[in-house]
């Protein structure tokens, strides 16, 4: 028997829909941007944990500055790189709150490296979501601390050179060796399976925060197809071929 579409499309048969904590506002991100998927996961997890009334998100400077427009929770926007300091105070002053930062590679690994490392070293009970797409998206595709050697950006137009620009900064092992971190993992959202794993990782980070286990960092090795000058589908291929070699997926620390 061939079922008709209208027989399938019924509320009781729904297995996936946009999480209700994700607002109806159209996201300003470029088509295919990884930010949207990660936002969606965060919204789903907060909803599933029943923490929508107790969560405060800390948005960064960079493309994700407007994260506060898209997830229906309390938000505070931090100065460039200072999200971990902001999160530190929020969590210490209101320990019953779920506090997470959402930071790009420039925010977390360039201007905010100091705050990131010290918050993690103090073992602040916060979750850090780190979007690493190896480029500055918001300002127009400049070199990020995590830009790969040879990678062309608007400030390394002939490719990043170690002698001129230094080496890609690999944050996760740095964070993993700190006594204050309990969970450091690298994930991606380029396939359905990867999205499921990333969701489990972010959920774990949020649960660690509420259990007072210390700092968790979930690095999402992401794409920036506009900055990389590729289509979204090509970006995913480039991600696998190049980014994963420098930033391999998996848990670096899970205590």
């Amino acid at each position: 028997m061939n079922m008709k579409q209208e027989d399938i499309i019924k509320p009781e048969n729904c297995v996936y829909r946009k999480p209700s904590l994700l607002t109806d506002e159209n996201m300003h991100y470029c088509p295919g941007c990884s930010h949207g998927v990660v936002h969606k996961l965060i919204a789903e997890i907060i909803e599933e944990m029943g923490m929508e009334d107790k969560t405060v998100g800390v948005s960064p400077v960079g493309c994700a500055v407007f994260a506060y427009n898209y997830i229906d929770i309390d938000w505070i926007q931090a100065a460039h790189g200072r999200a971990p300091s902001v999160a530190t105070a929020l969590k210490r002053l209101n320990p019953e709150n779920l506090i997470f930062t959402y930071q790009g590679d420039g925010d977390l690994a360039a201007i905010g490296t100091c705050e990131t490392i010290h918050a993690a070293n103090r073992g602040e009970n916060i979750a850090i979501i780190f979007i690493n797409n190896a480029i500055y998206g918001m300002t127009g595709g400049q070199m990020a601390p995590t830009t790969l050697l040879g990678m062309k950006t608007s400030t390394t137009p002939y490719g990043r050179r170690a002698d001129l620009n230094g080496h890609p900064l690999v944050m996760a092992p740095l964070m993993a060796q700190l006594d204050g971190t309990c969970y450091v993992t690298r994930q991606s959202v380029h396939t359905p399976a990867a999205v499921r794993k990333a969701k489990a990782a972010i959920r774990k980070a949020f649960e660690n925060s509420m259990a007072g286990k210390g700092t968790s960092m979930v690095e999402i090795v992401s794409t920036c197809n506009s900055g990389w000058k590729l289509t979204p589908a090509q970006s995913n291929e480039w991600l696998v071929e190049n980014m994963f070699k420098k930033y391999p997926l998996g848990d670096l620390k899970n205590e």
């Binding site: 405060v56 229906d72 530190t88 929020l90």
Partner: protein, 359 residues
């Protein structure tokens, strides 16, 4: 009940006043000459008595952003530093002002520029009263001249900060921070409960329980909307200018010569004024307590019959610009200042006054 009288440094008084105010948090970073604030708080361990959070941050930059967050959560939070550290905090202060958050900031000024010296100075007057950070914003700036005022201005600063949802700064000089004096400590108040905080600060980010979500941000890319935000800020600053001017006037009625000085310099100038009056000179002293809003009207009134105004500062001459504006350059206004941590004596000031105006 007997009052609680102690002998302590100005910096120590700040710390005790915070705890007794019912402060929720202090975030700081050591720098001479104000490290006693953090040291006293760590020694008092208020987290065990009142639940106040005390944290030594990794930098002044981190500390001020912790204050931004705490203020965003509606908490009574504070940071303190001295001049170079305060320079590092300016971005965060601009964010606090732009997001309209109540916070208490303390600058125990030392000599600059650069790393300068650890000796007292008043050379951050411009930084405190004219903005300091980027954009059009103002700081309520309180200038204590005694250890008692160091103590009292903690409560005043926070009360004003919450009343107007704007950062307030105690602009102390190193002298007031380091000197020991008798101080009457206030009655301890308990910290606000979560319910009280939610009622007083419905805008705070504490989780959106029983309300729509709150967003604290200073970003607005839409130009007309950003202009409205700026206009609203300026309207608030105008209300503060109309209502919150504070100053102390001594012998200013019909005075022939007016000295204007703030903070520890006002104490020394008070002695200079006494010496002058003993010599038959009709000298008055006006001490701005709020450096912003500036007591321009009071100065204009005090100087109506004056032959000259002497502005004495531990700087190359910063407040003098506001004094000249206050009298619209209609009165001969001169500056005397020492720098680098040097402090003038009362005799020195009297000598300068006589040389400049009396002759």
């Amino acid at each position: 009940m007997e009052s609680d009288i102690r002998l302590m440094k100005g910096n120590e008084a700040l710390a005790h006043a915070m705890i007794r105010y019912g402060a929720d948090g202090y975030f700081g970073y050591p720098i001479t000459p104000q490290s006693e604030v953090l040291e006293t708080l760590e020694a008092e361990m208020p987290w065990e008595s009142t639940g106040m959070v005390v944290l030594q941050a990794e930098s002044e930059v981190a500390a001020v952003n912790m204050v931004y967050a705490g203020a965003g959560a509606g908490k009574a939070v504070c940071t303190s530093s001295s001049s170079p550290g305060m320079s590092l905090m300016q971005e965060g202060i601009s964010f606090i002002a732009a997001a309209e958050l109540p916070a208490l900031l303390i600058n125990c000024m030392r000599g600059g520029p650069g790393l300068g010296t650890i000796q007292p100075s008043q050379a951050d007057y411009f930084q405190a009263t004219k903005g300091g950070g980027h954009g059009d914003y103002r700081l309520i700036t309180l200038a204590p001249s005694s250890v008692q005022e160091m103590c009292d201005f903690v409560a005043l600063g926070w009360d004003l900060a919450f009343k107007y949802r704007t950062p307030a700064m105690i602009l102390a000089d190193g002298t007031v921070g380091q000197m020991m004096e008798k101080v009457i400590l206030p009655e301890p108040r308990r910290r606000r409960t979560e319910e009280e905080l939610r009622e007083q600060c419905p805008w705070a980010v504490t989780g959106k329980k029983n309300r729509k979500r709150n967003i604290i941000t200073s970003l607005e890319l839409n130009a007309p909307a950003m202009e409205v935000i700026n206009n609203n800020l300026q309207a608030k600053y105008k209300r503060i200018e109309e209502n919150e001017v504070r100053c102390e006037a001594l012998n200013t009625e019909d005075c022939e010569y007016l000295i204007v000085a703030f903070g520890s310099m006002a104490r020394i100038c008070e002695k200079a004024m006494e010496l002058a009056r003993k010599q038959g000179l009709n000298v008055g002293l006006l001490r701005p307590i709020t450096l912003w809003p500036f007591p321009a009207k009071a100065i204009e009134q005090a100087a109506r019959k004056a032959k000259g105004i002497l502005v004495v500062e531990l700087s190359a001459g910063q407040m003098i610009e506001d004094v000249k504006l206050a009298v619209n350059c209609q009165v001969d206004t001169r500056h005397y200042g020492r720098m680098g941590g040097m402090i003038p004596t009362p005799d020195e000031i009297l000598g300068v006054l006589k040389e400049m105006f009396v002759k």
